[in-house]
C-alpha cells in the first residue's frame, strides 16, 4: 500500500540511472556518436515535462491532457524573443515561466472547477485553443513555425550552443525538478495535495480550501513544464504549434504510466523507455506505431505500477520480502 510517497528503496536503482545519464556525453564523445547525445538530450527535456505532469497527475490526481501547451509556451518564449533579436537567456527563461504561470492560472481557474473526465476534456480544450492561436499567428510562422538562429545567451558561463553543455544543463534542471517535487510532496503542501486526490470532500471538511491548493499545484507544475519547453526550443532550434498538439500531452501521460504513476523518478525511466522504444522500433519498421501500441497495452495491463512495479517485483524476488 502506498502512503505519502512509495517507500523508495528503489532509490538506489534510480540514482544509478541518473549517474549513468551523467556519463552519456563522455560515451558519445569518445565513440563519436553525436546522434545519441541528441537523443539523450531530448529524453532529459521530455523527462522534465513528465516530472512536472507527475506532480499534478501522479500525486494530485489531476489528469491533464493539455500539458504540452506549457511546453509550447516555453519554447515560443525562446522563439519569439529571438525573432525580435533579444537573446538574453534570463529574458527567455523568465518569459517561459511567466507565460506558463499565467496560462496555468487562467485555465486552471476554470479547469479545476471540474473533476474527472470533465477536467481531462477542458485541459485538452484549452491546450487546443492555444494550439490554434499559434497556428493563426502569421507573424511567427503560423503552422510552419519559426527557426531559432541563436540559442538563449547566458554569457560565457553557460554556453548552451555547445551540445554537451546543453545536455548537462538539461540534466541539472531535471535533477533540480525531481528534488523540488520530492520536497513538495513531503512538505505540508504535498500532503494536502495527496489527501485531496484520495478524498477531496474529507479534506474540505477538515478545513482545507481544496480549490486553492489544487490551483497552486497546477501553477507550479505548469511553470516547470514551461522550463522544459524553454530547453526544448533551444535544443531543436525550431518552434511550431505542433509542439502543443494534444498527442504530445498524451505522450507525457504515457511516459508517466510507463514509469509508474506517482513515483518520484518514474517520469525519467518512463521517458527513457518511451523514446528508446520509439527510436529502436521506428528503425525496424514503418509500422512501428502498431508494435509500440501493443507494448504500451501490455505494460498497462500486466505491469501493474509500470516499470516501477516491475522493478519492485524483481527486487522482492531477489531479496525475499524487501521492497
Amino acid at each position: 500500500m502506498r502512503t505519502w510517497v512509495p517507500r523508495e528503496t528503489t532509490t538506489r536503482f534510480y540514482l544509478t540511472v541518473m549517474l549513468l545519464l551523467c556519463l552519456v556525453p563522455v560515451a558519445t564523445t569518445w565513440s563519436g556518436q553525436g546522434f545519441y547525445l541528441d537523443l539523450a538530450t531530448r529524453i532529459l527535456i521530455l523527462a522534465i515535462a513528465a516530472v512536472s505532469l507527475n506532480l499534478i497527475l501522479g500525486y494530485g490526481g489531476m489528469i491533464s491532457l493539455g500539458h504540452a501547451a506549457f511546453v509550447g509556451i516555453g519554447a515560443y518564449s525562446v522563439g519569439i524573443f529571438s525573432y525580435y533579436e533579444i537573446h538574453n537567456g534570463l529574458v527567455h527563461l523568465g518569459g517561459a515561466v511567466a507565460g506558463s504561470v499565467l496560462f496555468a492560472l487562467v485555465t486552471g481557474m476554470v479547469c479545476l472547477r471540474t473533476r474527472g473526465v470533465y477536467f481531462i476534456m477542458i485541459t485538452l480544450a484549452f491546450a487546443q485553443m492555444l494550439y490554434f492561436v499559434f497556428v493563426s499567428l502569421e507573424e511567427y510562422g503560423a503552422d510552419d513555425g519559426l527557426l531559432i538562429y541563436q540559442r538563449s545567451d547566458f554569457g560565457a558561463l553557460l554556453d548552451i550552443e555547445n551540445a554537451v553543455v546543453l545536455y548537462y544543463t538539461a540534466l541539472a534542471v531535471l535533477a533540480g525538478c525531481i528534488g523540488l517535487v520530492h520536497r513538495i510532496v513531503n512538505a505540508r503542501f504535498g500532503r494536502v495535495i495527496v489527501g485531496i486526490r484520495h478524498n477531496e470532500q474529507r479534506m474540505r471538511a477538515l478545513g482545507y480550501d481544496t480549490y486553492r491548493y489544487k490551483l497552486t499545484c497546477y501553477v507550479i507544475s505548469g511553470a516547470m513544464a514551461g522550463v522544459s519547453g524553454f530547453l526544448l526550443g533551444n535544443f531543436t532550434n525550431f518552434i511550431s504549434p505542433e509542439m502543443m498538439d494534444w498527442t504530445h500531452s498524451g505522450e507525457l501521460i504515457f511516459m508517466i504510466v510507463l514509469g509508474g504513476t506517482g513515483v518520484l523518478f518514474a517520469p525519467v525511466t518512463g521517458a527513457l523507455a518511451f523514446l528508446l522504444l520509439e527510436e529502436s522500433l521506428s528503425s525496424i519498421t514503418v509500422y512501428w506505431h502498431l508494435i509500440f501500441g501493443l507494448i504500451l497495452i501490455a505494460v498497462v495491463l500486466f505491469g501493474r505500477g509500470g516499470l516501477h512495479g516491475i522493478l519492485l517485483r524483481l527486487l522482492s524476488r531477489g531479496k525475499s520480502g524487501r521492497c
Binding site: T3, R191, D209, Y213
Partner: protein, 246 residues
C-alpha cells in the same frame, strides 16, 4: 453556539427542511431523531455547508455562516463525521489525523520542510488517537481497519480540529452491538468538552448521550426537549417511537 432561523430546503417539490429553528448552546449534546427520509442528513449538510438552504439563516459562534463554505466553517470549529465513513483510506491512521492537526496549526502553503520534522504535530495527532483508543494501530493503513475502528478514526480526525461543535451523522451506523457500545462510551467521554449535534437511530445511544432531543418528521421539527420530556411526549410516541419501537 449554533442557531438556525427558519431554514428551508426543498428538492423538486419535496420539502426536506421546512422552517427549522434549532438552538444548541454551550456544550450541549443535541440528538436529532426521526424516521428515514425525515431530512436529518439534509439538515446536517446545511449546517456543515455542503448544501445551501433555500432560505433562512445559520449562526455559528455568533457569526452568520449561512453562505460560508465547508472549509471555512471547519476552520471556525465546526467539525463533522459523515454517515458513510469518510477517511483517507490509502494513508496510515496517523497520517489521517496528522492532516487534521495540520489544518488547524497554521497554513499549509509550506513547500520545503518535511512534515516528518514537525514533532509537535506528530505528538498532537498521537494524543487524539489515544483519546479514541487507536494509538496502538497508528501505523496501520486506514483501509485495513475494521468498520468500527474506521468510525473511531473519523472521530479522532474531527477531534484533532479542536472543534467547538461536532456534527455526527449516525456515528454507530452499521456497527455491531459491541462496537456501538464502545462508540457510545467514547462519545460520552467527550461530554463537556465540545457541543454536539448527533443524528442517531439507536435510541439507547440517544438516551445515553444526549442532553436534549429534537424529533424530525417530514422535514419539520415536531418536538424538542430534554430526553425525559421527549420520552413522555405523546405526539413523539405516535409519530416515531411508537412506530418502530414497541
Amino acid at each position: 453556539m449554533l442557531r438556525t432561523i427558519g431554514l428551508n430546503k426543498s428538492f423538486g417539490g419535496i420539502s426536506a427542511s421546512s422552517d427549522i429553528n434549532l438552538e444548541v448552546s454551550g456544550k450541549e449534546i443535541r440528538a436529532v431523531v426521526g424516521p428515514n427520509g425525515a431530512g436529518k442528513t439534509t439538515l446536517i449538510a446545511q449546517l456543515s455547508g455542503l448544501l445551501r438552504p433555500d432560505s433562512g439563516t445559520i449562526i455559528f459562534g455568533g457569526k452568520d455562516v449561512t453562505n460560508a463554505g465547508v472549509h471555512s466553517r471547519a476552520r471556525m470549529g465546526l467539525a463533522r463525521s459523515f454517515q458513510i465513513t469518510s477517511i483517507i483510506l490509502p494513508l496510515t491512521v496517523l497520517d489521517n489525523v496528522m492532516l487534521s492537526v495540520q489544518s488547524v496549526s497554521g497554513h499549509s502553503y509550506r513547500f520545503w520542510k518535511p512534515v516528518s520534522a514537525e514533532r509537535e504535530m506528530h505528538e498532537k495527532a498521537m494524543r487524539n488517537l489515544a483519546e479514541v483508543g487507536l494509538a496502538a494501530v497508528s501505523d496501520r493503513v486506514a483501509a485495513e481497519l475494521s468498520h468500527g475502528e474506521q468510525r473511531q478514526l473519523e472521530i479522532a480526525m474531527a477531534l484533532a480540529l479542536d472543534p467547538r461543535m461536532l456534527l455526527l451523522d449516525e456515528p454507530t451506523a452499521g456497527m455491531s452491538r459491541e462496537e456501538s457500545g464502545h462508540m457510545v462510551r467514547l462519545l460520552s467521554g467527550l461530554k463537556g468538552q465540545t457541543a454536539m449535534i448527533l443524528i442517531e437511530h439507536d435510541m439507547n445511544a440517544v438516551f445515553a448521550l444526549a442532553d436534549t432531543v429534537s424529533v424530525m418528521v417530514d422535514g419539520r421539527i415536531i418536538a424538542s426537549g430534554t430526553t425525559d420530556e421527549i420520552r413522555r411526549d405523546p405526539a413523539v410516541r405516535r409519530a416515531y417511537l411508537g412506530d418502530s419501537r414497541a
